[in-house]
Every structure is written in structure tokens, then in C-alpha cells.
């Protein structure tokens, strides 16, 4: 198997350019961020931040400064409201399970939308099966928007927690998250409002302290920080408990020794994104539209998944290429140096394609041919021009193999 992988990698030699657009699933870390992290591996702050010696205090200082920065960018009242976790999956688990553990109520209801990320849906399912919670899924429209009236109806006195992603990671739908939180709190002030903010952090402006949001998952790698670190914003007074046991740490919701270099990298990536946030968002939006409109006009038989314009995340492009299977297309594009992912059942290794695409009414065929791409503040006009040059040829070649087998 390892030989196969070596050969696959070798097949990519002599590429004219490489453009990585699969930010949804992982990301490169810019030199600047790595440089900020390096000393914390080697020369300073390598101690345990909870202990009484210089390397420990250096670590504590670095973690506190990182929390201060992120608190400022997220609009938290205090750095204590930023709880570092090993990633978004862990932060989402902490939010839902942590709230369930902290609640003494007999009947616990969870409200989510049907397009929440699988980390949320799988945790909700686990809480149903093991803790007897009840999950209510509210539907979305053809662009992925929730209906606030449906949300209001779904929340009652038994509702423990509501979790709605501010931006859907697959189709970029920007939900009316502030209004959603308000409605939930008006219906039941005791309900915890959580949002997976992974695709919104650094992509829009929102001060958590000025909203009714209690818990928010923040991502590092989606703003070009390192993987292996994330955070949960926990508004002061929100009732959640830690979900794993171990040595007590400076991070009260996540036992174990803090990963100082990754936390420093997360803060550095945040700083690079939020210094000139408007400019960065403008840049991403410009490239997003170039990529999106360029593909829709150059390739026939396509469908844009999710909304367009200001209602869509500035970085997200998701297009279905009909009569074109997604896994085949991702490989073809990879051989041309363009790295993307697909909602096809094949690339997901599951029998069914993306639940988000089927929830917005896409037929399975359209979901199988969907390609997800995200632009970053570091992509250039030349990158997008290259993608627009090679993409239509790639689709054309895959469609040639399909021939008359599928008629759209």
C-alpha cells in the first residue's frame, strides 16, 4: 500500500502550479505562524503552564496572551471565556455533552438544524442513545437557511441546548445567528445556545458578548493556524462540565497538559486574519466570486450549492457538476495540481452522499458530483486563473468517460 502512495505522489511531478482549496478538511500553515510557534517547542515556554518554574510561567504567559488575543477578536468579555481544546470536534463534543452532564433535568431536548456538521449530529445521536435526550432537527430551505419560526416552535421548557452553525461549512450559508440566539433565549432563558463558529471566525464580524450566544466553537486550521487546537467560547455563567477526566490543568474544561506551541500558532493565525479583517474578507470574497462565476460560466450543467452574494461565507464555493462523479474529478484535478474535496459518497467512504446537499433538496446524482472549495487570504488572482484554466478540461475528460451512460 505504501508503494502505491509513493507512486501516486510521483504522478504529480512537473506541475505548473499547485492550488490547495481543501481548507474544509485541513490546511497549510504559513511560515509566519510556524515561526511564532517554533520557540515554544525548543527554547521557551516548554514547561507545564500550571507549575512553578520559569518554563512553566513562560508557557502560562503565552497561553494567557493567546487567550487575550482570541477573546478580543471574538468579542469575549474576558480571556477566561476562551477554553482551548484539541480541535473543533472536541469543542463541539464539549459543548453538547458538557451541557448534558451539567443539567439535572429529567427530560432533555436538543435542537439542531438538519445541516449541522456531523460532529454535532453524531454527538446528538449519541446523547439520544446513551443519555435518553431527544433531538429535534429543524429543516432548512433550498439555500440552507433555517426558518426562525421553526426554531421558535422547536424550543420549549425541556430544551437543554440548541446548536446551529453560524456558517454552514459545506455550502457557506450565513445563518441569522444573533436573531436565532435571541429567539431561543426569549423562549427559554435556561436553554444553552451553542454555535459551531468554525467557518465564521475570521470570515465575519460578530462580538459574542453582544449576543445571546453561550457557547461557540472556534477553529484554528480554518484560518490557516495549526491543526490539533481549537477553542470553545464559554460565556461566563454558562452551565457546562468537562467531559474527560485527568490531571487538572489551566484549562478548566480540558484536563491534560496544554499544547503551548499550537495555542501560540492559533493566536498568531488569528492575529494575521483579524489585523485588516475587512481587507482579508474583501480579498476572499473577490476570489470566491471569480472562482464561482468563472466555473459556472465556463462549465455547462452545473448547480451552485448554497446562496450567493453577502448571504454566503466569503471563502466558500460549492458547485455540483452533473454527469461527473466527484471522486473521479478530485483525482483528475489533483493530477493537475488543484486540490479539492467532494460530497460524493465515494470520497466520503459512506454509502450516502453529503447530508447537507440532500437536505437542501439536491438529488443524489448532483451531490455525487459536488466539489467544495475554500479560498484563503493567501490565495492569489493567479491561483484562481490557473484553477479556471484546468478545471473545465478536467470535467470534460471525466464526462467523456461517462459518455451516454448518464443522461441529465
Amino acid at each position: 500500500m505504501i508503494e502505491n502512495v509513493e507512486e501516486l505522489i510521483k504522478a504529480h511531478e512537473k506541475l505548473e502550479r499547485e492550488v490547495y482549496l481543501d481548507i474544509e478538511n485541513s490546511s497549510p500553515v504559513p511560515e509566519e505562524v510556524v515561526e511564532a510557534m517554533l520557540p515554544y517547542f525548543t527554547t521557551r515556554g516548554y514547561g507545564n503552564p500550571a507549575l512553578t518554574h520559569k518554563p512553566g510561567w513562560e508557557a502560562y504567559e503565552a497561553i494567557m496572551k493567546a487567550a487575550q488575543k482570541i477573546a478580543k477578536y471574538a468579542g469575549a468579555k474576558t480571556p477566561e471565556e476562551i477554553a482551548f481544546t484539541p480541535g473543533e470536534t472536541e469543542a463541539n463534543n464539549l459543548a453538547l455533552i458538557g451541557a448534558a452532564l451539567a443539567s439535572k433535568a429529567k427530560k432533555k431536548k436538543i435542537v439542531v438544524s438538519e445541516i449541522e456538521p456531523v460532529t454535532i449530529l453524531h454527538v446528538a445521536k449519541m446523547l439520544e442513545e446513551k443519555f435518553g435526550c431527544k433531538t429535534v432537527k429543524i429543516p432548512v430551505d433550498a439555500e440552507g437557511f433555517i426558518n426562525l419560526e421553526n426554531l421558535e416552535e422547536a424550543v420549549d421548557k425541556e430544551t437543554l441546548i440548541v446548536s446551529i452553525a453560524a456558517v454552514n461549512p459545506e455550502i457557506g450559508t450565513i445563518q441569522p445567528i444573533k436573531e436565532a440566539a435571541e429567539i431561543v433565549k426569549t423562549r427559554n432563558p435556561n436553554t444553552v445556545f451553542h454555535t459551531d463558529f468554525s467557518d465564521a471566525y475570521g470570515k465575519m464580524k460578530l462580538d459574542f458578548s453582544r449576543t445571546d450566544i453561550d457557547l461557540a466553537t472556534i477553529s484554528s486550521y480554518k484560518i490557516l493556524g495549526p491543526r490539533g487546537v481549537g477553542a470553545l467560547y464559554v460565556k461566563q455563567g454558562t452551565k457546562i462540565e468537562k467531559i474527560i477526566e485527568g490531571q487538572i490543568a489551566t484549562q478548566k474544561f480540558w484536563p491534560g497538559i496544554e499544547n503551548t506551541p499550537l495555542i501560540v500558532g492559533f493566536a498568531k493565525a488569528s492575529e494575521l486574519m483579524f489585523t485588516d479583517l475587512d481587507k482579508n474578507i474583501g480579498h476572499m470574497r473577490r476570489l470566491r466570486d471569480k472562482l464561482m462565476n468563472g466555473l459556472l460560466s465556463r462549465v455547462s450543467d452545473t448547480l451552485l450549492n448554497g446562496p450567493s452574494g453577502d448571504k454566503r461565507a466569503p471563502d466558500n464555493v460549492n458547485i455540483s457538476f452533473l454527469r461527473c462523479e466527484g471522486e473521479a474529478l478530485t483525482i483528475e484535478l489533483s493530477l493537475k495540481g488543484v486540490y479539492v474535496s467532494s460530497g460524493s459518497a465515494c470520497t466520503r467512504r459512506l454509502l450516502q452522499p453529503s447530508h447537507v446537499l440532500t437536505a437542501i433538496g439536491r438529488r443524489f446524482e448532483a451531490a455525487h458530483g459536488s466539489i467544495l472549495m475554500k479560498v484563503t487570504r493567501l490565495h492569489t488572482e493567479e491561483d484562481i486563473a490557473y484553477v479556471l484554466k484546468v478545471f473545465p478540461e478536467a470535467v470534460q475528460r471525466i464526462r467523456k468517460i461517462v459518455g451516454s451512460t448518464v443522461v441529465s
Binding site: 493530477l335 460524493s344 459518455g403 448518464v406
Partner: protein, 164 residues
Amino acid sequence: MSRVPLPYNQKVLELFRNPKNLGRMEDATVSAVAGNPMCGDMITFYLKIDDEEVIRKASFESYGCAANIATSSILTEMIKNKTLKQAWNVSWKKIVEEIGGLPSIKFHCGILAVGALRRAIRKYYEEKGYTPKWLPKELTFEEKQALEEEELAERLAKRMDGQQ
């Protein structure tokens, strides 16, 4: 459950990049389709069969992943100049072997390819109006798999239509 990467081997990659015997055959004696676009997995085979029941030409079209394309392509190579009986007896395991191995999650591609080919062979005899002794009356495992996939797709389609 874990998510396995798909380290396709060189032969699969080569057949994906330069598939052999690709395309519709206008003068085909018989053609057959298996699979469904809803499953992201569909193959058409075209066979040119002579009077001696020997496959003189075989070609394919495929809507599917790289493994689907590669297994279909290699099967058209394997059955060239073979009698229909010999072609019938090509197993999906033989295809996987011939292609130098596939990730286990992709075995169904080989199974669907055999299902499509056997469907074409049955169709040929149906059109001729006779059944050779070696041709099983019951559907074989591979044909049943193709049928199951198609039925699943139909159920899913109905469910989707019901929701809209």
C-alpha cells in the same frame, strides 16, 4: 469504523488516466447497463460478437470513481477474443487480481462490472431466442448485487421525491 485512504496502484491510475476501450460502440451486437447514477456508480458495456459467439470488440462507458473506470476498462481487455462462455466465467476476484489489487471498499466496482457484463450476455441470448446449457437460470451473485443497487436507488429516489 475508520476512514481508509484510497491508495490506488499504478495500474488503476494508468487506466483512469488513459482508459482502454472507452466509448460508445455504434455497431455493437449487444449493450447493457448496470448501476444507477444515484449510487454514483454506473457502467455500460458494448460487445461486438461474431457468429462463433466470440467477443471481437468490447468497450465501456462509466459514471463512477477511478476504481469503477479502471475495473470496467480492464474487463473489456480481459474478454476480448474470448467466447461468451469464457467471458461469463470471469469473476470479480479475477478482475481485482488482474488490476493488481483494490482497496476492499472498492470491490463492489469489480462486482458491478461483472454484473453488467453478464447482463449483456444474457441479453444477447434473449435476443437470439435460445439459452445455452452453461448459462445459469438463476441470477448470479454479481447480477443480484447490480439489481440490489438499482432497487436501492429507486427507493432513495422515491423517498427524495416524497420529501419535495
